[in-house]
């Protein structure tokens, strides 16, 4: 129960100046802050075999995506990993998660498809969920063209993007959708109505705080939405049987730790194969801050290697 020294240093850095009131920040300001933070502490873009930008047809217009092909096998038919970036469905982007997706492609051996789903508040729930589900279906349908093995397609995401990945899996199994081979959830947002121990104990002072989560809910959720709706709180789904195997990663000092753990436990009880890892001493989004938290690099290596093994 001690913070990693590098994580502690990062918290000291962001705590050394008076932070602005999150509640007063506009979506444009939050996007700029997150973009700048990732530029400062995110992974320097490692070399990758190939990058392809494209658009897939969405219900409300084209959905941009970026495909990352790992260096080791540019031309082969590879497993696929459809990735949903974090940022509260408001302030992340393909760009803010570019370095992370490169690392995941290289370490997992998957063709990673990072999806630029519609963001709130311009497009509130359920826009992000709709685009995410559309993207996964599209990747399955286009697998031969994308040189992806349709029997080995995973969905993945971090933070709110991991919540989208879990929701997509639930919908696919409920609606007879594509057979997703694996779900990789990094510090997932899984219960917007949570009152867990970690939400309580880590509400402030650990980078991702209650103020940010409340801000995200205010901008993403329509005012009349029940926060216990499983489409925004997949932990609240009644039945988790038949879900794809899961790799769930939480961070010890993340207010979301308990909901990640609870989801892993529930999946396991429902008969789903689960690998659960709580990263000791870490904070929310550590995996995206390799320049400030050296452990992140080793963690991504292990996360990618485990995906590779599961999709072998």
């Amino acid at each position: 129960m001690t913070l990693d020294p590098a994580a502690k240093r990062f918290l000291e850095m962001i705590g050394a100046a008076s932070a602005p009131e999150i509640a007063a920040l506009s979506p444009a300001e939050m996007r700029e802050r997150f973009r700048r933070l990732m530029r400062l502490v995110g992974p320097a873009s490692p070399p990758i075999g190939r990058i392809d930008d494209g658009e897939l047809p969405g219900a409300a217009g084209p959905v941009p995506f970026r495909t990352y092909t790992p260096s080791e096998n540019v031309d082969g038919c590879l497993p696929g990993l459809v990735y949903f970036h974090g940022g509260g469905c408001v302030f992340g982007s393909i760009e803010t998660h570019d370095g992370l997706c490169r690392m995941l492609a290289n370490t997992s051996g998957c063709r990673v498809i990072s999806v630029g789903y519609r963001l709130a508040p311009e497009h509130r729930f359920p826009a992000a969920v709709e685009d995410s589900y559309t993207a996964v279906n599209w990747v399955f349908a286009q697998a031969p063209t994308l040189a992806i093995d349709p029997a080995r397609i995973a969905v993945a995401g971090d933070s709110a993007g991991a919540g989208l990945a879990a929701t997509v899996c639930q919908r696919a199994s409920r609606d007879g959708g594509p057979r997703i081979a694996l779900q990789l959830l990094l510090c997932p947002v899984l219960d917007l109505a949570a009152e867990s121990q970690s939400r309580h104990d880590l509400a402030a002072g650990y980078f991702f705080d209650k103020a940010t989560l409340d801000w995200m809910i205010e901008h993403y959720c329509p005012p009349d939405l029940d926060l216990a709706d499983p489409r925004v709180s997949p932990l609240r789904a009644k039945d988790l049987s038949g879900q794809p195997p899961a790799h769930v990663h939480t961070a010890e000092f993340d207010p979301l730790r308990c909901e990640g753990r609870a989801y892993a436990d529930r999946l396991q009880r429902a008969g789903v194969g689960v690998r659960y890892t709580c990263h000791a001493g870490m904070i929310h989004h550590f995996y995206g801050m390799t320049a400030a938290i050296p452990y992140a690099r080793a963690a991504i290596d292990a996360i990618g290697a485990a995906v590779k093994e599961s999709l072998a």
């Binding site: 020294p5 502690k8 962001i14 050394a16 100046a17 933070l37």
Partner: protein, 89 residues
Amino acid sequence: MSTRSSELNPRSEKDASHLVHRILKQQSIDRPVAATDDLREIGLSSLDIVELVLSVESEFNVRIPEGAITPANFRCIASIDALIGSLRA
């Protein structure tokens, strides 16, 4: 020789002011800053401080240990210079 080397490296080896000015300029804050001016009052944000800490470490080739990244040490140019001096001593 010392004059020549300082011409080749115009940054003052013992002065954090150029880093502060660079970051302020990035944020479109263009005004003179005295060594003892409070940087937060001038408008340096928490992300500016992150950038400042990382810049100090890379440009002065020091590592600021945990516990030393405090509001007091990053209050003004003079306090940052004092911190750098103590780390290089």
